[in-house]
Symmetry: D2
Subunit: 457 residues, 4 copies
């Protein structure tokens, strides 16, 4: 099949080289965007007087026909074509001959690819942001429905203090809200039209860039042709944003996997979300959660690949840049797929309140409240910490519970103890005692949920 | 020396474990910020009625004294202390005994560290942004002073088309402007007070978070205590921003190293910027540029370390998080040092116009202009590309220059050639022929420089 | 289609979950190896008395038929199947019913997958090692044919000293020899049969592991079932080895891209290896070399992904491990493709001796020889370095060549200079003056080439 | 202070550039090795006739004096020196003047640094290997002492089947044995003398490389000077080996952190290994384990830094390479420190048998044994899997235990059930039923422990 070049060459390029340099397997995803841009480029050429009205009509007609064929899956692309842009130009040439030859005036693949990739990024990132919103709503629904359920909070995977399950979920909502911000800023920054740059220095073809930007929906126009064809910052920035998103996913997945273990037994997950074992008949494994956790590695690797790809590349275009799509496209697909799974999952999670209540009987969860109790009795905090530490050690050594100690025994450790101390070993009391604005106090959390329900409705 | 805990322990912690878990060597950098926060925390405790006016005064006095001692380098920290926060609390205890014991009420190291680290990030990122601004000004100065100097633009490290040296520099300015945007957004996002979260669920100590935020200059307050102590997104985001910045540095360094080679010979660098060889007496090597290029690897590695550190960590605080500072602090220091070097460098770069003029004699640089010339004569671009390719091949085969061909010979390839084609082999003609808004046309670039001079004055 | 599990489930697993957890798109590459292993496993079951001779014959017959169908590309795999192992078992069940139900006794997919992947790695790494050998031979051929051609050696991309082109090539051969060693050791280490481990603790089915190992060509048998199903070290090790290989490729590609630039002009590359530009008619770009350089980023990213995937995973099997193949398989394919390209390339490289001779006229290349000349005259080296540095500075300042200086002028810098110093500005003299065993002395290099020709024949 | 170069320079190098390019803060670790090599280099110069016996004696005397001063911590290095090699040469010059000027003949820092770094790597990797051996012994001691204790094995963090605790530990021993192999091969591969390469092409100084290698304990000599000064493969290989080692550490740490949680409660860790909380008085957190897990991220980051540093670097020496030590040295130090901690830890771990026994009551652990029981009764495995799955589902739905079912009820699912099935719900029975050579069968594991005790004594 035809290439976009060849006049200067005596020999054919070796097949293995063509195959090694071809990107058709990955960039066929760009067909829709390349066609959209080519139509607008043809219009700009018509405005510049390089294509007649009739020629424009022919080009648009054929390109729309091709677009429809792509949508209907009627297109077979042979693997020996260099890239999707060449494929589309060839298709046009086959149908229109000379007219088609005019289309590439004033542009190079260097800027052409960038137009398509930026259009793709805009569309797919908006899709991802939309799905994050949906996931937040799904989490919020559970938080709202289980507003006052209490579970142990952990530090170092050790029992720390009682916390509202809904407060826990809001921690994740906060992370995902930051993800939306970050990705939205990335979209905003990449929303720049690179057309008009041609190979790297611009072109003598008088393209109306304002017109092209408006037609394609770009809000800004690149003001430097070398930058326009060399810049892949936006891919690194998207992959950074997705890496942080998947870091959040991996933490959430880890929490859920732990909670779903026989030992923690904090949640149940509907079996429609689980898969079995080929040898162990009893198994309902949370495989999708493990794959979500594992997929963070894939996104990280792709971020690392794009950064390393760009390291030390001189301006302007170098062919290394072609590989950007191998890191970008699968990352975006994995993000979309993972979000779908998580939205589905949150509909299927139940809290095992009976089992959680057993965990909440662990007195360690209330020890810090006892220390703060002493502080309000007038003891300096560091001293209270020491005193309570000693009481607790005494309990462990004598295999007794804190609440089994008599007040007189307690008073040996500090005269400030009184009867009220025994009421502290209660999860509701614990969360209600918190007063700071970011604490797990049920009133504060409830207010927060109401606000979020308004924000994400 | 004293630890912040111990009551519950029977045995001392093994020395090797204490050493392995100590972060004092790295977090001593936070002393200033921890003291600043501790003063405000004491004020908040006084407002909460847990510390008297007199006690507050004592605490503030001692902490300011310590701060001064740090500034004057009068403080010796033994290596067996757990961290800087413990060191500061111990210092206070030694001076104030019981009063000092009160300071830790209502906070945990989990939130305390986050306050310090966020203060540090805000300050140092603003420093970095300021230095990027200075560097842009230095680049702009050279661009302005050499506004109309032309060099070859490269694609695939092959001669492409003539380009203004100033247009080339503006490509880098564009990159650095995006860096400023990205880092500014990161600062804005991390500007959140995490105090009041205590271990992870909040505290019964009635801290006035609005007051603390205002005193410390935070514009927002965290609304979730679990998130506040677990979140290290901002470190990943800063290191992403710095990775992209250093990716730009590495590309710039590569361009400059190439241009400084005997073969390219496009620039001279003042010898005050170069270092020599221990064996080769003639050497003036651009070592600092190579180290800048190399340092991109260090920042990338640190970004990947923080992302991997966070992968799969359940909520809330885990000790793994302590290592965040080992990735953050050296990266910020390297960024500051590199920016200083680059600001200095741009003052010392000269263009070797004589040598550049030789490079501009390469006729390949004008071939694309000839193709566009034919397009304006009415030939479809793809055909023009083919025709010119064949002419050029003819020249190579016959070891002649394009401009040595007679018009009649040219007409054998296309009747559209005329005399004017010979005038195209001229760098000024070439850049002036470009018309697109992002092109290297001198009028457009000159206007752009004027705008930038206004933006960065 | 059938799954390998289901009895315990009430509901069907959601489609989106099945799709998210399916690996069929990537692991179909393992079909050949899974069939090979399944045949041997059936034999082992027959030896264990759990399958009759007749049943064994049936199973073997159907599996061989399936294998042939795969080879002939007669198999269509629907995308809703969980993995290739399930596909193969289903195929068998459809043909053999009850007999096929017996095949999975004594094994789990956990160990089954590991058998296939290890068989795959052994085969494909041996292919890669074979191709590295072929590439070394291709390089050696050029080295031998251009044994005495001299080029400048560079440090800091600045002219250092003259060096034999063949010596330069041998530097790369040395790197590739280390790559072969590393990859061979990796193959040796992964050559361990994991069968018999079942889910993770072994099985009561009396499988003759020695028999299985012998039949499949494994030289060792795993002695720990938990390790056998959890271990992915060998994938990390292969990707480390390939990362270092591609690091070498990227350095080689960089050297060749530089040498192919108009400025260096040290080599020509046959145009059958180059590709053109869609806008610039004159272009013959070394795109394949740029892609080779860029592909190093892909392999690095995959290494990073597998290491991060494995970080913090508790024993034994976790579903995260399924993603290992997404990092391994494309890396191996990229290595194979890149080696093919490089083997082809080295047949097509020519040295531009005329252009190189101009570069060798740069007197800086001989300055170090002059310093060593003074050392042999009795001057301490550090002093000689200083003296020659000053002479060279004098030349630069007076825009003269070192060799234009008169002996009397030279003697002002040191009395040790004599007439012979002027003969040093000669590339052949320079390389011949070197005497150390690893130097570029032509006799030494020639001997080295002879040895290598014997080693790689 | 003096530099190793300067003659050719008119101006002093700017302070900020000197500071940016200085490596003294990191490479002072090489002092011992540089001195050792410099002594041997002086001997080689004496053999070459460039240094007299008396001069040699002087040089050796001063260098030994300096070495002693380093050992006794009597050396203060100012921060404005370029590197440790310059520092040592300057020290010599100060004491010996002209004689010292002779020392650098026949070598460049390019090869000099490589000699030191390789000596350092050989020594420190042998230390690491030795410590891994010690750690294996510590693990083996626990395995041997708790040979027959049974715990649940997990897949997907869900209960799988009973397994010997010692079998579990041997899985880790296997990993560490592979680490030793990998690191030993790396040491073997880097054990190559790079001296004689000088800047990059060798030298006219007749150095006896066999003599130097023998004196310094290198078993091989580099045969290519360009490779010798450019090669950093061995650093990438060491960091790959350490990354895999730390991946194992992170998995082990994760297992231990899980087991130490209140929920799993499988092990106790001596409190001398734990640290407390600044706010929660009851806390004994396994912080060192979390830091071990976290430190894997640091090593990974350093591996990626060195690979990225080397990507696309042309031959031969480039200053980027100086940064290699920033990635190598801290990684090695972290490995040494982590191994010390782990060796100490394994002395302090106890199994909570009472709590583990409760976990072993979970009938899911025995379900797979029941399936294999039916297989030995003649049921095809896939059918047995289905039948047992249905029985188990029946139990869950009716909130009963498998062992509570009557034989007649069971027979409704399959006529093959008999009374013996009830005896299968027993951990000892389960492990004893396994027969494969890599299974958790106590006889097999016991034999394995005996072999290991012989291997690591």
């Amino acid at each position: 099949m035809g290439k976009m070049w060849g006049g200067v060459f005596n020999k054919n390029v070796e097949d293995s080289v063509l195959q090694y340099t071809s990107s058709i397997n990955i960039d066929k995803l760009l067909a829709k965007f390349d066609i959209e841009y080519s139509i607008v480029h043809a219009m700009a050429l018509e405005k510049a007087g390089l294509v007649s009205k009739q020629e424009l009509n022919d080009i648009v007609r054929i390109l729309k026909e091709l677009s429809k064929n792509f949508e209907e899956n009627n297109i077979k692309i042979s693997e020996d074509i260099e890239d999707i842009h060449t494929f589309i130009e060839n298709y046009l040439i086959e149908k229109l001959k000379n007219t088609a030859y005019k289309l590439h005036a004033g542009r190079s693949r260097n800027d052409q690819i960038m137009v398509s990739v930026r259009l793709y990024c805009k569309q797919d990132l908006e899709l991802i942001i939309d799905k994050i919103n949906k996931m937040i709503k799904a989490i919020l629904k559970i938080a709202d429905a289980n507003k006052n359920i209490i579970i142990p909070a952990y530090t170092h995977l050790q029992h720390a203090q009682p916390v509202l399950f809904s407060h826990y979920l809001i921690a994740y909502i906060n992370m995902f809200k930051r993800d939306i911000e970050r990705l939205s800023e990335a979209v905003n920054r990449l929303d720049v039209l690179p057309a008009g740059s041609a190979a790297c220095t611009g072109t003598s073809v008088n393209l109306d860039l304002d017109f092209i930007a408006k037609k394609l929906g770009f809000s800004k126009i690149s003001d430097n042709s070398l930058d326009a064809v060399s810049d892949r910052d936006f891919i690194a920035e998207i992959l950074s944003g997705l890496s942080i998103l998947f870091m959040h996913f991996s933490r959430l997945a880890e929490d859920l996997i732990l909670w779903y273990s026989q030992e923690f037994n904090i949640i149940s997950i509907d079996e429609s979300f689980c898969t079995g074992s080929s040898i162990m008949p009893h198994k309902k494994n949370p495989d999708a959660l493990e794959l979500i956790r594992g997929n963070s590695s894939k996104i990280y690797g792709n971020l690392f690949s794009i950064l390393t790809l760009l390291k030390g590349l001189p301006l302007s275009y170098n062919r290394d840049l072609q590989l950007d799509k191998e890191f970008l496209f699968p990352s975006i697909n994995t993000a979309v797929g993972t979000l779908d799974i998580l939205i589905f999952l949150f509909d299927k999670v139940k809290i095992n309140t009976e089992s959680v209540d057993k965990l909440l009987k662990d007195e360690k969860l209330y020890i810090t409240d006892v220390a703060e109790f002493l502080v309000y009795k007038g003891m300096p905090f560091r001293e209270a910490h020491e005193v309570i530490g000693k009481v607790y050690k005494h309990c462990v050594e004598n295999k007794m519970k804190f609440s089994d100690m008599s007040l007189s025994e307690l008073k040996k450790f500090s005269g400030l103890f009184d009867d009220k101390v025994f009421s502290l070993f209660n999860p509701n009391k614990s969360v209600n005692s918190k007063v700071t604005l970011n604490s797990t106090n049920p009133d504060i959390v409830s207010r927060k949920i109401s606000e979020l329900l308004k924000e994400f409705k």
